[in-house]
Symmetry: C2
Subunit: 220 residues, 2 copies
């Protein structure tokens, strides 16, 4: 019985931590807040995860394991269907960023909460977290990069690399901007409610990303 509860406890801690990290950041969230929100004992975090740092990593691992698998699955499926021919850039972009945005509508995968957390964390100053994320992303990014190189053989690889980076940034901010920072969005655009906004984000973002990816090359 006591052992049975512990599975719940682990998940409850992870869920509460994910929400609180998203709202207040890692440093802005204490273990007392987490255990309080989860309705578990303070000491249970260290019992189950060992440390706060390990808890942070587990919050990401739980979601990224699925996301990575899914992204690879989607890419592999498309490549098999295409045979020897290169994929279209729009397919590749859709596979990478569409899969990500799809999580927003899937509460079981963390939904918007996790996406916002992930977007912000890509630029987190803490070393251990950047290293960890880079490791988690590496394989998938390599595969998608290779697909883009093949799809755009005439574009210098350095250029594609940069544009991949630009796309990542645009996407992260788009997610955060759905309700976090309102620098640019907040205006006389009252013909949409919040739900519309999220539904329409994906096609909007995809158009933008593809436009950027296929833009004329810069002259140095």
């Amino acid at each position: 019985m006591a052992e049975t509860r512990s599975v719940d406890t682990r998940e409850r801690i992870l869920d509460a931590a994910e929400k609180l990290f998203t709202a207040n950041g890692f440093d802005g969230t204490s273990m007392r807040q987490i255990t309080g929100a989860a309705g578990v004992n303070l000491a249970s975090v260290n019992y189950h995860f060992g440390s706060k740092e390990a808890l942070v990593q587990e919050v990401f691992r739980r979601r990224l394991a699925w996301l990575n698998t899914e992204r690879l699955r989607v890419l592999t499926t498309m490549e098999q269907a295409a045979g020897d021919k290169p994929l279209k850039p729009s397919q590749i972009v859709e596979g990478f960023f569409g899969t990500l945005l799809g999580m927003a509508q899937d509460e079981a995968r963390g939904g918007v909460t996790f996406l916002r957390l992930l977007g912000r964390t890509l630029t987190d100053p803490a070393d251990f977290i950047r290293t960890f994320l880079a490791d988690e992303y590496q394989e998938v990014v390599e595969r998608y990069k290779a697909a883009l190189f093949k799809a755009l053989p005439d574009v210098p690889r350095a250029e594609i690399a940069w544009r991949f980076h630009f796309m990542l940034g645009a996407t992260s901010y788009a997610i955060a901007g759905t309700d976090a920072l309102r620098l640019v969005t907040d205006w006389q655009v009252d013909d949409e409610d919040a739900t519309d906004r999220l539904d329409r984000l994906q096609p909007r973002l995809m158009s933008f990303l593809l436009g950027g990816l296929r833009a004329p090359l810069p002259k140095f």
Copy 2:
């Protein structure tokens, strides 16, 4: 004499804080680190700024005052030259993001250090900092938004708004990515050294942003 030193002390604190905040984040930087690096006394931060929070705001205010003024000056100059005619989208994008990227080469304005800090901070979870930044940006963003609306009368305003947001995100990550996170950049692109990379960032980014801004509208 004692009074004369205080100007130096203020600036020394701000310089040290800016560097440390960029490297380790706000929560990851203690006032002991700041005063230690600045070579001033621990108590001087509270004497000169009142609190750590106020210090954070002053670090930004010092740089953004110049950036905002410069962005408005550039836009006003272009609009006067254009008379009644709308500006070209490329001019507007260049005025907003080019002015920002120009700071990277200007050590007296904070250089790359401040840009990285600014980019990351746009998604900082702390309320006081998001509110503060939104206030600081507001006037300039309104002016540039209006210019884009005028330049692209056939594009729905909501669409332009989102694309502005996407451009902001791409730019922030591009800056951070010059040496922070290396998700996508880190490869067999050894034909460029670090200096080249920064010099070439601006034209690369501008091409991407304009491509995205002028992409075909999404179909919902």
